[in-house]
């Protein structure tokens, strides 16, 4: 199933990746090459086969609902591109 240029723009938007107009066509060609490679899967009969998500078929482990992390707010906020008064700063979203 080959993509069209509008699909590239739609997927880029879903992925929050800005794609300049000049990049869209080369990206389309690359993605279609990879999708062609992936397409080989569709010929395989997988009826009755259980999907495999963990090689040992281990289910997600549960743990007690306890606080395990110490408060490291200052150290973690220091990693942010912009922070102020204990908060992450982002562009205004509500006028």
């Amino acid at each position: 199933m080959a993509l069209a240029i509008d699909d590239v723009r739609r997927v880029a938007q879903l992925a929050r990746l800005r794609i300049e107009d000049a990049q869209a066509a080369p990206m389309l060609a690359e993605l279609n090459t990879i999708l062609h490679l992936i397409g080989e899967m569709q010929a395989v009969d997988t009826s009755g086969v259980e999907p495999m998500s963990h090689p040992r078929d281990v289910a997600q482990r549960l743990r007690a609902d306890e606080i395990t992390e110490p408060d490291r707010r200052a150290a973690l906020l220091a990693l942010a591109p912009r922070a102020e008064a204990g908060l992450y700063l982002v562009p205004k979203v509500i006028e």
Partner: protein
């Protein structure tokens, strides 16, 4: 001093033949002299390394040395190490200083290792040549116009050039074994779930696994002893009793059954690689092993399956890089969404974007069953192929990579051609099995050939035994690239 290997170095440290500080200084000097030609190491902190070495010397003096006390190692830059810049080969994390240790890093620190620095890698571990790194490509010590393989290319090249005794790596589709093969060193990917993924920057979580890169199977065993172990902070970590991965090293190979998958010995293999692998199998027969042809009929599907599962999981894992909490943020933008989109467009390189796009597409509305679920079903068929093969043999052998190291730039224009470098390694990740690559000769141009051995689940000690016995009979693993032998 740089050619002793871990076990002998530990003995000499204990005997006070040299101190941990002298040893660390020796490797830091080698790095200063040689790294510029390789670009294998991208972060150094000499004062910190020497301080760790002084602590190691104190432990040795007080008789409190652990298995790896004073052993200088490098960490792939995918592992968070508290206080160390951890960039994962990406502009996105160029200035990120990790605020905590990965489980593997803390385990190796507890065992006494000295961190020399962090190694270059393909961006977010996506690549097979170490050319997608924001920090520039790594060069192969055997021929600096060639790639070292990837994504753990910096770790493999550094160990090959003897800039450290060992290094950590990660392997999602071959990223330990393929660079080990192309750089002429040893690399082990354990069974999925043996080493914790906590603090290892996530690429494809159902495939990612940490492992060691070193110059001998014995050293891999000593490293894995420190790296492996249950960790409640990784939800896929397996709860198993600790084991000594060196326990079977000296076991004779008489009666070992080697399975040779016919799919591994096709025309796609460079003839010199095939010849070296066949010579290695011949050596194993002399050591008492027998061989049997086996088949992995779905192996050709491993690349299509991988390029659904890995990008899908990557697109989800990499959604966290939004320019808000840490990492890169674009300078100029109109609003919040524009900030996300420009941050990610500027912070990620071309290969990472390609995989995010593929992953986002295959997970988008209406396509999940046709791609992700289908791939997970074929993944089970591939795992079942291995289970059948292991009914007839103890270990599966073949080439690690279809070719020796290729020239820088020769495959960057064709992503699919690059993906084919991992044709013999990816199926092992999909099945979650342990796999190992060791040097087994050279091609006519003097580039190393890797022999891959694949074991059943939790057969790491057996794989290391099989590799160690070969290394007692041969000396390929002791060869040092001429430009780095001094």
């Amino acid at each position: 001093m740089f050619q002793l290997g871990i076990a002998e170095t530990a003995r000499q440290l204990a005997a006070r033949a040299f101190s941990a500080v002298e040893l660390t200084q020796h490797f830091l000097d080698r790095i200063r002299r040689h790294n510029a030609r390789l670009n294998a190491i991208i972060t150094l902190d000499e004062a910190r390394s020497l301080a760790a070495a002084r602590t190691a010397d104190e432990h040795i003096a007080r008789g409190k040395a652990g298995s790896l006390t004073g052993i200088p190692i490098l960490h792939k830059d995918i592992f968070c190490a508290n206080g160390w810049r951890t960039a994962c080969g990406s502009r996105m994390l160029e200035n990120f200083v990790a605020p905590y240790d990965a489980h593997v890093v803390s385990r190796l620190e507890a065992a006494g290792t000295v961190i020399l620095g962090k190694t270059n890698m393909d961006e977010f571990a996506m690549g097979s040549s170490n050319e997608t790194s924001w920090f520039g490509p790594v060069r192969n010590p055997w021929r600096t116009s060639a790639v070292p393989g990837g994504s753990s290319g910096g770790s493999a090249a550094a160990v090959a050039a003897r800039l450290a005794l060992a290094a950590t790596g990660t392997d999602t589709g071959g990223s330990i074994r393929q660079p080990a093969a192309l750089s002429g060193v040893c690399g082990l990917k354990p069974t999925y779930g043996v080493a914790s993924r906590y603090g290892m920057i996530a690429f494809a979580s159902s495939l990612d696994q940490a492992g060691p890169i070193a110059t001998s199977a014995q050293d891999l065993a000593l490293m894995l002893n420190a790296m492996a172990g249950f960790d409640a902070r990784d939800s896929t970590s397996l709860e198993r009793a600790a084991e000594d991965y060196a326990r079977d090293l000296e076991r004779p190979l008489r009666g070992l059954r080697i399975g040779l998958p016919k799919e591994f010995f096709s025309d796609a293999v460079q003839p010199e690689v095939a010849a070296a692998v066949e010579a290695a199998i011949g050596e194993y027969r002399r050591l008492g092993a027998t061989s049997v042809e086996v088949s992995l009929p779905n192996m050709h599907l491993s690349i299509p399956v991988y390029y659904v599962l890995a990008p899908a999981e990557a697109s989800s894992n990499l959604a966290r890089y939004d320019g808000v909490r840490y990492g890169y943020r674009a300078d100029a933008f109109d609003d919040l969404v524009d900030m996300y989109e420009r941050t990610r467009a500027e912070g990620f390189g071309a290969e990472v974007k390609r995989r995010i796009m593929i992953g986002t597409y295959v997970l988008s509305h209406g396509y999940y069953d046709a791609y992700y679920l289908k791939a997970q079903k074929i993944r089970r068929l591939i795992a079942t192929d291995f289970a059948r093969a292991f009914e007839q043999c103890d270990v599966i052998m073949g080439p690690t990579s279809p070719t020796t190291a290729f020239e820088l730039g020769s495959r960057t224009s064709d992503p699919v051609q690059m993906y084919l470098s991992d044709i013999y390694t990816i199926a092992v990740n999909l099945a979650g099995l342990p796999g190992l690559s060791i040097p087994a000769g050279f091609d006519a141009a003097g580039l190393p050939v890797g022999l891959q051995s694949i074991g059943n689940y939790f057969a790491e000690a057996r794989l290391l035994n099989v590799a160690h016995q070969y290394q007692r009979a041969t000396d390929w693993h002791r060869r040092v690239p001429a430009d780095f032998a001094g």
